[in-house]
Amino acid sequence: MSADYDCIIVGAGAGRTIVAALLAEAGKRVLLVERGREMSYARDGRRDHLRNQRLSSHGHNAGPDVDGNPRVFVAQDGTEHIVRPHEPGYHNNAAAVGSGTVVYGAQAWRFLPDDFRMASRYGVPQGSSLTDWPIGYADLAPFYEQAEQQIGAAGDSLGNRQQGPRGADYPMPPVAQHHSAATLQRGAAALGMNSFTPPLLINTIPHAGRAACIGCGSCVGFPCPSNAKNGTQNTMLPRALATGNCELLPNTMVTSIDTDASGKVTGVTLLADEDGTPQRRGVTADAVVVSGGAIESARLLLLSRSARHPDGLGNANGQVGRHLQGHYYPSIYGWFDQDVHDDDGPGVTIATTDFNHGNDGIIGGGMLADDFIMLPAIFRKTALPPDLPRWGQPAKDFMRDGYRRVLSIKGPVHEIPSPDARVSLDSRVTDRFGLPVARLSGTTHPETVQTARFMFERARDWMTASGATRVWGREPGLQLSAGQHQAGTCRMGDRPEASVTDQWGRVWGHDNLFVCDASLHPTNGGFNPVLTIMALAFRNGAHLASQL
């Protein structure tokens, strides 16, 4: 009997929508299932500064729903906390069609060649699971180019002196640099640092039938008012749907990956929540691609237990859910005695990659850049010096005088993973459908904290050299790291004992089960990971299309 679909893709985010387009364009029948809903600016563009993916004090705007989708977070002292999606410790990634790409800032970094060979370059610290990728920069470079060209990146093609070889220039010129970049450029020059305009997946000129960025400065956390921010929902998804071969099913959970008596993957079980009554049904396919983000992808593999796979699919060696990582973001703030900030969005206009590698006594490093425009409520919550009272005339004076005089430098640190930072299934807490929820426990490896402190000092040096008269920030400490850059829980590798998939994202022991999201990243680079997720999807999607 023939299957309902050639391929079912679970999750409609950064990577999987690309795979859907490639398969559908190759004539394959694709079902794209997403537990979240479709978001648009007209319907979901409301700028609620307290309930969004960037600042979720009292709720958020992209899914999952605040009620019925808890996780368990285990703190370092062993206490367990049941957390809701907008609360600290949940490590949420947007659940929506397009996922984080609808509400992201869209930095479009390629990892550097050495990011793919961390263990070879630095050795493996005791207790860490630092490892090389099973592929190198050269394997991914053509697919980085496809992502830049087909999703739509704007950047300075020659600016980054540390970057690996590139075949083509960015299709659009970089964002304009403003007041803040000129200030920080002086500091970079004084320190002999190479600085340049960071690449963004944002239309700096009209592109692909959509408008240019209008500079609103509220990219992060919200859908774009001019549809100039390039996510997968406005690039690859329309391509997939235009073929007529791809069916999109939003508002639908996949509760398990199904197998037959021989252990072969046959399809998935869907759960849709129409009119408040959960409807469960099975669909079959020749292949299944799991793309729910590093936490939910691991959870789904673990939930897919059977007599033959008592610990979940792909988990015969206990690797599923381990090595959970994200990015530390050491952040420095500096006060200048004149206005240095203007609120032309997106805001990130200057970066350096001089400290990603080659730091004495330090494993790896990270990129540093100025920040996206901080909304006033975010500025108030994060940018005030630690010794400033949070009330009264001094706090008001600081906000009034400081909003345009404070700059921030921050950046993602390449984490040194620990096998103990992990996603498992909680044995007691269930979601609204009665399924065990993700339980997050452990911390990154302590070496990550060393690197983060080193980067904190480099950010401080840069801010000081730029003329800040006062500099402050919070020194990084040991913690679990995941968040919107969550990665690592189904790592790819060369050996089944130490990884979950092969280099194509194929789950060991299952010819027709694939993972395609940042779960695959053995390490997560010292950069925003989305372009790497996209490049891997272009590579692995083309491979899968040739196999089906």
């Binding site: 500025f379 108030r380 008001k396």
Partner: protein
């Protein structure tokens, strides 16, 4: 359960008025941040209880030290009393809520006409106004 009437006391408003005082620019009470705070507290009973308890103690201290209710004191004496409590959990939470309302988007109810944004020099640059597109019902929330 705490009601709006329990919460909306002269002491609460006086404290909120000192968290972001009026000067040449509007303060928290001028822009409606007190209404924002009350709305949030009605959603959070434990925090509401803790803040009400803190306010009662603050008022007691006002009577003991200055012989008057907190809200009747001149600002300098109100600030002296708040300074003694500024590191308590209840006051830190109240200061945070007040600032949220005052600096957030106007539709949250504590930043009338986006006047705090004008004060600090933030421009939203959105085609549809400071809140982006939103149904009218949301404005009236």
């Amino acid at each position: 359960m705490t009601s709006q009437a329990n919460l909306a006391t002269p002491t609460l408003r006086a404290v909120i008025g000192r968290i972001i005082p009026a000067d040449q620019d509007p303060g928290a009470l001028d822009l409606g941040a007190d209404n924002y705070v009350i709305a949030r507290l009605l959603e959070n009973e434990p925090l509401s209880q803790s803040i009400q308890h803190g306010l009662v103690q603050l008022d007691t201290a006002a009577h003991r030290r200055f012989g008057s209710a907190f809200n009747q004191l001149p600002p300098s004496e109100q600030d002296k009393l708040i300074t003694l409590d500024q590191h308590t959990k209840w006051f830190a939470a109240l200061a945070e809520l007040t600032a949220e309302g005052f600096y957030a988007d106007p539709a949250n109810g504590g930043n009338r006409d986006a006047l705090s944004w004008r004060m600090i020099g933030y421009e939203h640059r959105l085609p549809d106004g400071p809140n982006g597109p939103m149904p009218k019902a949301d404005y009236e929330r």
